[in-house]
């Protein structure tokens, strides 16, 4: 398996009539998670989030790809 970089957000059982909806649903969840946090708290949330998601993915090849993609173009 390699890193998925095409749109991939969905919710089981939910019907979308517009292509943009699942993407926007996720983005809103993400921003809401940070609501009313200080910058420092937000950094901590982000770090924990990466660790949680990384463990969920597990596959070290996929993670290496994601880590490299994130470092590009800084």
């Amino acid at each position: 398996m390699s890193l998925i970089t095409t749109p991939n957000f969905y919710k089981t059982g939910k019907r979308y009539f517009r292509d943009f909806s699942p993407n926007d649903d996720f983005y809103e969840m993400l921003i809401d998670t940070h609501r009313d946090l200080s910058d420092e708290q937000s950094n901590m949330v982000n770090a924990k989030l990466i660790l949680l998601l990384a463990n969920h993915i597990g596959d070290m090849d996929v993670l290496a790809e994601a880590l490299a993609a994130a470092r590009e173009d800084l």
Partner: protein, 550 residues
């Protein structure tokens, strides 16, 4: 005074019967001759209801406001007989491009399915839309458009609404069976009735400039995040009619609107953006802020709120007038059935239920766009810029870029008026769906599906092998249902039936049609029920449900 447009001035008049000793009584009064109030009035007049429109002003919308009118609003305007004028004068477009700093990171096409009559969007200055609606209203002799009539009092009663009006000649009182309020975002009538509207104000300011110039840019929507010519902020460019370009510059909350509006401050911004010495003239400049909010209920007894007075959204996505026109599309057929005694007043509550649902979707989408475009915290900004950075290379990130999801109609898929599916269908044309258009041929003439449906209930039957039994009885009901066949290219309808020939197969594909499949369509071009076979009893039941007669 604008260079490309001169505002008409309309004469003051009283509605017939007003101003004397007797209090006149009308079946329907509309307050506000904006794009939404006039759409309501045209729809009523088309259905034969005499209508009085009261407006406190004597001209069309002043300055640069609404620009983009979406496909669904154009389809409603087609039904109202205004679509052609608007589309001819407007600039049609489907493609939007989004730039981050120097580069294009994302583009979209609003009309991937090209077999539809109307473009995804047109751009047109709001005063033209209003002018064409006024022209259309002149075609009816049951319409009285009364300028310089300001509503100053509204008293709802059980069987009527009493309205007090101020004019240059003094005050008068009228009574109406039904009052349609389309008095705009500040809505004096909402205040008169002590009704709340809840939501939030966005802490940002935008500069609007209408610029007349020769430019070869294609008719597309161009949106910049953090461009070199306006660092740290966003900019939006639209081509309108008359070589008049509309530019929106995000300024930030700290900006001083009075300073920003001065030509000596605006002109350098535009020069920096154009990046060359091309000549241009400033047509209009203003600074706006915006709110996202809606009323809890759009119906209050005999009083209906439509358009901006009922809901206000951020301009990203062009949902203001577009959704207001959809309000009237939803309301008027229901009101007419209730006026005629063919449906109970509870049908009118479904106007509020369906359109508050639509307003919530519009508010959600425009709030999300606003949050992406104007991030409220350092973290939001970091995510935003990370998304834009990844978007150069990765498709998933392009799909997250939100430079304004443009106005599309909502699906009333949870409306109580729908008959839930009992048969299996694929595709999006579910009960509650706004109908997708398709090219068809009718009696040898090329046309469009949406030009041939609407204003009444219709049962469409796909490729019937014989005239469906019970169709004649459906046509004779108090609320008649007209049965029409849709046939594949080259096929014929059974004897005596009107047929829409699905010349390109678009209908069959979008509606997942199989021989015998049947759809019940509402007067506002929404699907309300569908089956795999024609069943007159089921259609009657669905009709009763769609009109609160069940």
């Amino acid at each position: 005074m604008l260079k490309t447009y001169s505002y008409p001035k309309f004469d003051f008049r009283l509605p017939t019967g007003a101003g004397g000793t007797k209090v006149p009584r009308y079946p329907a009064v509309v307050v506000g001759a904006g794009p939404v109030g006039m759409a309501a009035a045209i729809d009523l007049a088309q259905q034969g209801v005499p209508v009085v429109i009261l407006d406190d002003d004597d001209t069309v919308s002043v300055g640069s406001r609404g620009v983009c009118y979406a496909k669904r609003a154009l389809e409603v305007l087609d039904r109202l007989g205004v679509g052609d004028a608007v589309v001819e004068k407007g600039v049609s477009w489907n493609v939007g491009r989004t730039f981050f700093q120097q580069e294009e990171v994302y583009n979209f096409n609003l009309k991937p399915n090209a077999d539809q009559k109307r473009p995804g969007m047109i751009n047109l200055q709001q005063y033209y839309l209003e002018e064409y609606e006024i022209d259309r209203l002149k075609a009816f002799d049951n319409v009285e458009l009364c300028w310089k009539n300001k509503v100053v009092g509204v008293e709802p009663e059980d069987d009527k609404v009493v309205v007090k009006v101020q004019t240059p000649d003094g005050f008068y009182t009228l009574e109406t069976d039904w009052l349609i309020v389309a008095d705009g975002a500040r809505s004096p009538i909402r205040s008169m009735l002590h009704l709340d509207i809840d939501g939030k104000i966005f802490m940002d300011r935008f500069l609007i400039a209408d610029v007349v110039m020769e430019a070869e840019f294609p008719p597309e929507r161009w949106f910049w995040f953090d461009p070199p010519f306006h660092p740290g902020q966003s900019v939006l460019l639209h081509r309108q009619s008359d070589k008049c370009w509309r530019i929106d510059f995000q300024l930030g909350w700290q900006a001083d609107p009075e300073e920003e509006k001065k030509p000596e401050n605006v002109i350098p911004r535009i020069k920096a953006m154009l990046g060359d010495d091309r000549p241009f003239e400033l047509e209009w400049v203003s600074v706006y802020t915006f709110q996202c909010r809606r009323m809890n209920e759009f119906r209050h007894g005999r009083v209906f709120f439509v358009g901006d007075c009922a809901h206000q959204v951020s301009p990203f996505g062009a949902r203001g007038a577009n959704s207001g026109i959809q309000d009237t599309d939803n309301l008027i057929w229901k009101l007419k059935l209730v006026m005629d005694g063919k449906a109970p007043p509870s049908l009118l509550d479904t106007y509020s239920a369906e359109r508050t649902w639509g307003a919530d979707e519009n508010l959600m989408n425009s709030t999300r766009s606003t949050d992406f475009i104007t991030p409220k915290s350092k973290t939001s900004l970091t995510f935003r810029n990370a998304t834009l950075g990844l978007a150069r290379k990765h498709a998933f990130a392009r799909a997250l870029v939100n430079s304004g999801r443009l106005s599309v109609p909502c699906f009333y898929n949870e409306s109580s008026l729908n008959t839930p599916d009992r048969d299996a269908f694929s595709g999006d044309m579910v009960p509650g769906a706004p109908m997708d258009d398709a090219s068809i041929t009718v009696a040898g003439e090329d046309g469009w599906l949406l030009d041939h449906v609407g204003n009444k209930f219709i049962a469409l039957v796909y490729a019937p092998d014989e005239a469906p039994s019970g169709a004649a009885e459906l046509a004779g009901l108090p609320i008649p249902v007209t049965t029409i066949a849709v046939v594949p290219a080259g096929a014929k309808a059974p004897q005596g039936m009107v047929a829409f020939e699905d010349v390109r197969g678009t209908f069959a594909k979008t509606y997942d049609a199989k021989p015998g499949s049947t759809w019940l369509l509402r007067p506002d071009q929404h699907v309300t029920a569908r089956w795999r076979s024609f069943d007159a009893a089921a259609i009657r039941a669905a009709l009763a449900r769609a009109t609160c007669n069940a």
